[in-house]
Symmetry: C2
Subunit: 331 residues, 2 copies
């Protein structure tokens, strides 16, 4: 492990979130499925944006949020993702570097703009996301930098990127480098619809390459067809994989070799915005795992990071997760 | 008044705020005067931005914040300000229109980008601002639309714009239209340094054109040279002007014809970010004034709007000021 200077290297979409408070009626008027993430085209942005209230812009992206969370715990991290040379690209690049993440991707010029996600947050804290991926998913094999993967303990892949063939090829290229370098490979399924679109490809990738899989219950159902998700997680994990299943307000379940853990959620005073809950759970788990903590502690670190991020607007931590973990006597 | 369909029309800088939490040491390292606003060049952005933590982007601009506040009270408002055809320009335009403000200014192409303000918020809630004005202050007489001024009860001018001759000429043009249309003219001095840079020009404008002047104690001192600011406010107001002086945690003082009022501040649980305090005070006052409320009520409306905005990050209200005013039995 002596050459490994990063705990986790993430590969995912580089997105700026545009977040506005909303009511259920607005979602109904726009025909948006509450709680879901839908991909939109550039021409869809204007009518959806026009129906939003005043926004706040924050860096987002699922794997990028996870990496930001690990950095907040004090982990050493890197991120690979595509931004354009525009203002949103500057925001994304600045924010991720400002928290100490190694982000070497160069902005690309002349094509699609930086990705953005229009997020409606309803009074119940639920988020409904509309993502224009812009230049992000055209991630090419050439943009996967072997030196970053080789020096990481864990590679973390964002399922959302599977929506484009170039990115899928880049994932396999990254996995090959990781295998050779003895870097563990983790994946988040990201979204039910994303799983439905790419079920067989995901099953193949998981079977052949993945060491740690993150999914929520719906995603695991979509992937396996099983209704008993705990058993599905155990079966998928088998002898040599780790499956981490988040269950919203129920907490999480982890199947890791012979170990099975039900992890309780952490209390939250008020759920303000659930954006990033799964991303930050993965941050806590991966940070703990990279540090060699017990699996149960990894899960609890996930729970406290998720609880922090849903207690405010935005998908990245607003306080030091390292301090929070210390206060909870977890590190 | 039958033709007047707007309570207040604002003319000011169209700015997107980039807000990050900071500590005092960072300000010292960057040699920034805590609590002040400094104008920066485009080349200054990179080193200052690089020293900031992860940001939140929100629409800002002093007069624009005031107009947003009046809209939140339920007032009918318009705004004139320059944005470029870039992402920050889209954010500004979207946010101000989304709250019902009439904003007819077209984005300009090919020149400077949309203005941005890099804001460091320290743990005491104080904000330190670094403003790159971009395309904003090149406001031209041609961009002052008479039909909007003519239909407003009150015109509201942002002192910051006085830093450019074109904009100064545009102010005088706007004032002339207002006088003819029987529209009251109000001005905010904006900033001590701004006053020092343009003291004589401000005194001339106030003497000849201004009906309602907003200033804090420091600005009034810079303008008049007097140390007894209450007496300076009374003297400046004279027989036919209204001078509204904000005094931070002390509240405010208003001299309006024969009336003199000391207004208490509203209680705030925690001062999180003082950005926009003066802007929102002006919003409450102008809303009340346009609605024909007593001067004392106008001041109290200002105090409750200021208290709301300093209790969270960002310079625009996050809850309905109309509901807040109702809850305080002011409307």
């Amino acid at each position: 492990m002596s050459a490994q200077q990063l705990d986790v290297l993430g590969i995912g979409n580089a997105i700026v979130d545009v977040i506005a408070k909303s009511d259920d009626q607005t979602l109904a008027d726009l025909n948006l499925a509450k709680g879901a993430m839908q991909l939109i085209e550039e021409t869809d942005i204007a009518p959806i944006y026009a129906a939003m209230g005043p926004g706040q812009e924050r860096s987002g992206g699922s794997a990028a949020n996870t990496i930001a969370g690990i950095a907040s715990f004090g982990g050493r991290t890197g991120f690979i993702g595509r931004v354009a040379s525009d203002e949103f690209g500057q925001i994304f690049t600045h924010d991720i570097r400002s928290i100490g993440v190694e982000f070497a991707s160069k902005p690309v010029s002349g094509g699609d703009p930086t990705a953005r996600c229009l997020i409606f947050v309803t009074p119940d804290g639920e988020r409904t996301m509309n993502t224009f991926l812009g230049c992000s998913p055209a991630l090419d094999k050439q943009e996967i930098t072997p030196e970053h993967i080789e020096q990481a303990k864990i590679l973390y892949l964002e399922g959302y990127l599977f929506d484009r063939d170039e990115a899928k090829a880049a994932f396999y290229a990254a996995c090959d480098i990781a295998k050779t370098a003895d870097t563990l490979i983790s994946l988040t399924l990201s979204d039910t619809f994303c799983v439905e679109r790419h079920r067989d490809a995901f099953l193949d990738l998981i079977e052949t390459h993945i060491d740690i899989l993150f999914a929520n219950e719906d995603e695991l159902q979509a992937l396996t067809g099983a209704t008993d998700t705990v058993n599905a997680a155990i079966k998928l994990a088998g002898e040599n994989k780790t499956v981490v299943m988040t269950r919203g307000a129920e907490g999480s379940f982890i199947s890791h070799r012979s170990e099975k853990h039900h992890i309780l959620p952490q209390p939250v005073q008020e759920v303000v915005d659930t954006t990033g809950a799964g991303d930050l759970y993965a941050a806590g788990f991966l940070y703990g795992y990279a540090q060699g903590h017990k699996i149960e502690t990894c899960g609890t670190l996930g729970s406290i990071a998720a609880a922090e991020v849903i207690s405010h607007i935005g998908a990245r931590p607003e306080i030091s997760l390292h301090e929070l973990a210390k206060a909870n006597k977890l590190v």
